[in-house]
Symmetry: C3
C-alpha cells in the first residue's frame, strides 16, 4: 500500500530568495493564501528563513510586521534597538523571541531626506553628513558588485556582512544569555525546551510554549512547538481543535536549512508510478482518501484546524511548528493511552458511534499502551517487507 | 391601517435542512450576508436549529466554529469531551453554554487513515480495527438506507439515533445540573432566567446575559436574551446602540421548533391584498416608512444596530435573541418612564428637537406610566374595530 | 532646492460638506482607502470636522460609530445622554473624549413609527403626538428653506441651531468641567495638555495621550497627540514603529478650521513651475525621492507606520494627530540627543551600516545638542538666501 496523492488540504509551499551572497541568504515563503483557499486565515502571516555562515552579521532591515524568531541551529547574538536602550542576547538552538514591528535600515532612510533637513537635523554641513552617513558603503561590497548589479534595488544593499574577530568580541560584550531567563519575560528570549516536554516517551518528545504560558505570544495568539520523533516512531493520530499549524523540518546536519521548494506538478507524475493505478478509477478515488504524503527535507506544510494528522519518522526527525489562533487550542489524540478523546466517549455512545460493542472497543483501545508517540510498526505481528527507499518522514492525514 | 411591505433593513432569513430522519432534524440558516448587504458584519455567524424526539441522541459531529447552545424547550443531557476529561450536564429550557470549536466525528476521521498508520496507532491488526471501529454501523440504520441513498454523502451518516432505556440510564449517571450553578462559570451552562429580569412588569419580562455578566460570552462578544411579551402587550420602541440582534421565535407548544422558512416573493403578493393600494403610488411610498411586518411563527429576523424597533404580541410571545457586538451595548427606549433617552434631553434642547413646547413634551411623556413593556392599546380612548385575523406578533420599526 | 512632487506614500485628503448653514458646518473627510491602497488599514476610520459660531447648538444626530472628539478651539458644552442619566461637560481647547456609537435623532426616529404604535407607546391620541413630537419644526427653519430645498433629504433637518441667552444659561447649569478631571477616567473628557509634554524644548512641545495612559483610547487602540512647533523650528526626523498617524493642522486664528481641500491635479501643475524641470528626467526621478511637500493650512495628511518624517514650521504651527494601531508604538528619532536609534547601534555595527568610521559617526551625532525639536537652520554656517514665500510648514519624508 503506497498511495501518494497530495491533497489540497495539506498544502506545501515554495520559497523565494530575497537576498543571497557568499555569507548567507534570506528566503521568504510564498503567501499562504496564494497557495490554497483554505489558508485564507493565514493571509497576514509570512515565513522567513535567515541562514548565514559563522562570523557574519545581518544588518538592520526594514520590518513592518511583528516577528517570532526561532533559532533552529547555531549560535547568534541578537541586538534589539529601542529609542533609549539596547539589549543584546546570546541565542542558541531553540531560543525564541518576539520582535516588534518597526525596525529600519537607518542608512537607507537618511539618504532619502534632502540637504536642508539633514543639515538642520545634524547641525552640520551636508558634505560631512554625506561622507559619514550617506555615501554607499564600499569597504566590503566591491567584490559583490557584479552580482548585485543584476538584481533589483532592494537586493543591492549590504544585508549579510562578514565580521572581524575584534568586531565580534566587541559585540559579545554585555550580551545576556537567554538560557538563564524565565519563560515568562515580556521582552527576553525564551527557549522552547526550557519547560518540561508536554508529551515525552522513548519514541519522541513534544515541547510547546503557548500564549497562556508566555506573554510574548499573547498578542499574536501563536504557539511555537518543537517536536522530536525518533527513527521508526510515530506521532499518534490527533487533531488541533482551533490552531492552524505551520510546520517546518529542522535538520541540524544541514546547517540551519529550514525548508525548501517542491514541484507542484509532481502529483501527476507520482500517479504514473503508482502501483495501484491499474485498479481502476474507483479505486484511485478511494486512494485519495487513504493517501500518505512522502515529504522530503526542506518542506513546509500546513495543518488546518480540526484536520487529523499522524507523522511517521523514517530517521530522527526534528520539527518546528507555529500554531496560529492558538488560544484555548486542544490537541485531541485518536489513539494511545492519554489525551485520547475516543476513550472519553460515554460507554453507551461508543457503540452508537462505532460498529463494535463497548467491550470490543475498550479491548482494542487498550492494545496501545503508549501515549502521543509510539512504535511506527505494530508490535504484535509479523512485519511485511520493509520499503527499500524511505523518505525522511511521512505525514498521514485524513479528510 | 395595515401596511405590510417588508423592508430590506429588516431581513428575514431561510433555513436549509442539513439532516433529517424520523428522530429529528438539523437545519442551518442561510448566510446572513447572502441575504442583505447590511448584514455583512454577521458573515462569521450562523444559526443552527437542532430538534429531536425524546430518547434520541445527536452523535458527535465535526464543528469548526464556537457554538452558543440554548435550550428552547425540552430536557437534554449534554456531554462535552476533552482529551483527559468528560463533563455531562443536565440541561433544561433556557440553559445556555458556549461550546468551543473542534468537535469531531471520531469514526469518520479514523476511517480515512491508512492501514499502516492504524495498525501502528492501535497496535493491532487491521482486520480487528476495521471490525470494531471502522465498518459502517448498520445496527440501526438499515431502515433508513433507502431514504439516505437519495442524499449526498454528508447526510449518509447517523446523526440522530434512538436510545434504549438502559443507555439513557447509563448516560444520566454523574451528570451535573446547570440549575444549581452560578452564572459566571467559565465552562458550565448557565440559565437565561437565573438572574432577575432586566425589565419586568405585568406586560412582559426581559432576561439578558451579557458578556459583562458571563465570561463564556466575552470572547465571542455576544449577549443572549429571552423576552416574554404577554398577549396584547407591546415592547416599547427602542434601539440598541451597538448590538446587531438575531431574533428567533420560541414557541413551546410546537416542541423545540425554533424558526422557519419564509417565501421571499410574498412581498409582491401582499401588496395586491393591500387595502391601501388604491391610494396611489405616493401614498404607498409613504407606507413603506410606516410599515409593520406581520411575521408568523418560524421566522428569524435581524435588528441592525441603531435601528428602532417595537414588538407587539397578538398572543403570548417568547423570543430568543443573540446580540452580536454586545460589549457596552445600551438599549435606549423612546417611550415609557425608565431608560427613556427622550426624557434625558436637556429642557432647552427638547424644544429645539421637537415642535412642541417643553411643557407640552413633558406632559405627553408622562402619559405613559409603564416602562419597557406596555398595553398595546392606548388606555385613554375608544378602541377601533379589532382586526379579525391577528398574526402571532408584529414588528414595528422605522427608517 | 525646491522639489515639490507629492508622493503616493504621503496622501492628502479632501473634505465633503455634509451640512452647512449660517451657523456652521459639518464636513467629512473622504474615505482613506479611496485615496490610496496603502491606507487600506484605515478603512474603518473617518475624520469629521464640526465648526460653528458662538451661541449655537449641534442637535443630536445619528452616529453608528465610536467618536473621538477633540476641541481644536473655542469653548463648548457637551451633553452625553444615557438611558437613565445625562452628563454635561464644559469643554475647552485640547479637551478630548470618546463618545460611543448609538446616538440618534429622536424626532426623526419617532416620525417613522406608525399611528398605532405611537398611540400605545405614549398612551395618547395621535393628534397630540403629532403636534408635540412629530410636526416639522418650523420655528427657526423658515429662512433656510429655499436653500435646503436644493439638497437631499439628509440635509433638510435642522442640525446647527441658534440658542437664546436663556437657553444657554439653562444648558450651562450643572455641567462638569473637564479641566479638573484626571486623565484616566473611563467616560469623562481629558485634556491633551493635562500631562507634561513627552518632548519639550524652546523649539516645540509634544503632548500625547496613548491607550496605555487612558482607558477611553484602549478599545479603539488610538493615540491622540498635540504638537506645537515654533516658527523656524524643526521636528527632527523620526518614524513610528507601529502607528499610522492622521495629522490635521490646527490654526487657532482661523476659528476652528481643522482642515481643507486640495486639488489632486496640482501635482502636474507644480511640475511645470519646477525650476529643476530642465535638469532632465533622471534628475526628476531622483527628485521624487528627495522631495518636500509644501502644505498649506487646511490639509490633512497621513503618515504610514515605519515612514520617516520631519516637519519644519515656517510660522508657529499647531498640529493634531490621531495614531491608529497605537498600542506599543515607539517613536524612533534619527537625529538629536535623546530617543535616537542611530545612537543605540552597537559601535562595530555602526561602521558596517554607515560609510564613516565609528569616531566620525559619533562626532557627527554629537553636533546636534537638541532632542526631538531643533532649529530648522543649522547653526554652524552661513545661511543661503531665504526663500521669499514660505508655506505654513513643510513635511520632509523619505522612501
Amino acid at each position: 500500500m503506497a498511495a501518494t496523492t497530495i491533497k489540497a488540504s495539506f498544502p506545501l509551499l515554495m520559497f523565494q530568495t530575497l537576498f543571497e551572497n557568499d555569507n548567507g541568504h534570506i528566503r521568504l515563503l510564498q503567501k499562504f493564501d496564494e497557495r490554497s483557499k483554505i489558508l485564507e486565515n493565514l493571509q497576514n502571516y509570512r515565513l522567513l528563513e535567515y541562514k548565514s555562515k559563522p562570523h557574519t552579521i545581518f544588518l538592520p532591515q526594514q520590518t513592518d510586521a511583528d516577528f517570532i524568531l526561532v533559532v533552529l541551529s547555531g549560535k547568534a547574538i541578537l541586538t534589539v534597538l529601542e529609542p533609549n536602550d539596547r539589549n543584546s542576547f546570546n541565542l542558541e538552538r531553540g531560543d525564541t523571541i518576539k520582535l516588534p514591528a518597526g525596525s529600519q535600515n537607518q542608512q537607507s532612510i537618511l539618504s532619502e531626506f534632502n540637504k536642508n533637513i539633514l543639515e538642520a537635523s545634524f547641525n552640520t554641513g551636508y558634505e560631512e553628513i554625506e561622507k559619514v552617513l550617506l555615501e554607499e558603503h564600499d569597504k566590503e561590497t566591491q567584490h559583490r558588485r557584479s552580482l548585485r548589479d543584476k538584481r533589483d534595488h532592494s537586493q543591492e544593499e549590504d544585508v549579510i556582512v562578514k565580521l572581524s574577530r575584534g568586531q565580534i568580541e566587541e559585540l559579545s560584550k554585555n550580551e545576556k544569555s537567554s538560557s538563564k531567563k524565565s519563560v515568562s519575560s515580556e521582552s527576553e528570549p525564551f527557549n522552547l525546551r526550557s519547560r518540561n516536554p508536554v508529551y515525552s516517551n522513548k519514541f519522541g518528545r513534544f515541547f510547546e510554549i503557548t500564549p497562556e504560558k508566555n506573554p510574548q505570544l499573547q498578542d499574536l495568539n501563536v504557539f511555537v512547538n518543537s517536536v522530536e520523533i525518533k527513527e521508526g516512531s510515530l506521532l499518534l493520530p490527533h487533531y488541533n481543535s482551533r490552531a492552524i499549524v505551520i510546520v517546518t523540518v529542522n535538520d541540524e546536519n544541514r546547517d540551519f536549512e529550514l525548508v525548501g521548494q517542491r514541484n507542484e506538478n509532481q502529483q501527476g507524475q507520482r500517479k504514473e508510478d503508482d502501483e495501484e493505478e491499474e485498479q481502476g478509477e474507483e479505486e484511485i478515488n478511494k486512494q485519495v482518501k487513504n493517501y500518505k504524503a512522502k515529504l522530503s527535507r526542506e518542506d513546509v506544510f500546513v495543518i488546518p484546524a480540526g484536520h487529523p494528522v499522524a507523522i511517521k519518522a523514517s530517521s530522527n526527525l526534528d520539527l518546528l511548528g507555529f500554531g496560529i489562533n492558538a488560544k484555548n487550542n486542544q490537541r485531541n489524540f485518536l489513539a494511545g493511552g492519554e489525551d485520547n478523546v475516543i476513550g472519553q466517549i460515554h460507554q453507551p455512545v461508543k457503540e452508537l458511534v462505532f460498529p463494535g460493542s463497548v467491550q470490543e472497543i475498550d479491548r482494542l483501545l487498550e492494545n496501545q499502551k503508549q501515549s502521543h508517540f509510539a512504535n511506527a510498526q505494530p508490535e504484535h505481528r509479523e512485519r511485511g517487507i520493509h520499503e527499500t527507499r524511505d523518505p525522511l518522514y511521512s505525514i498521514l492525514d485524513a479528510f
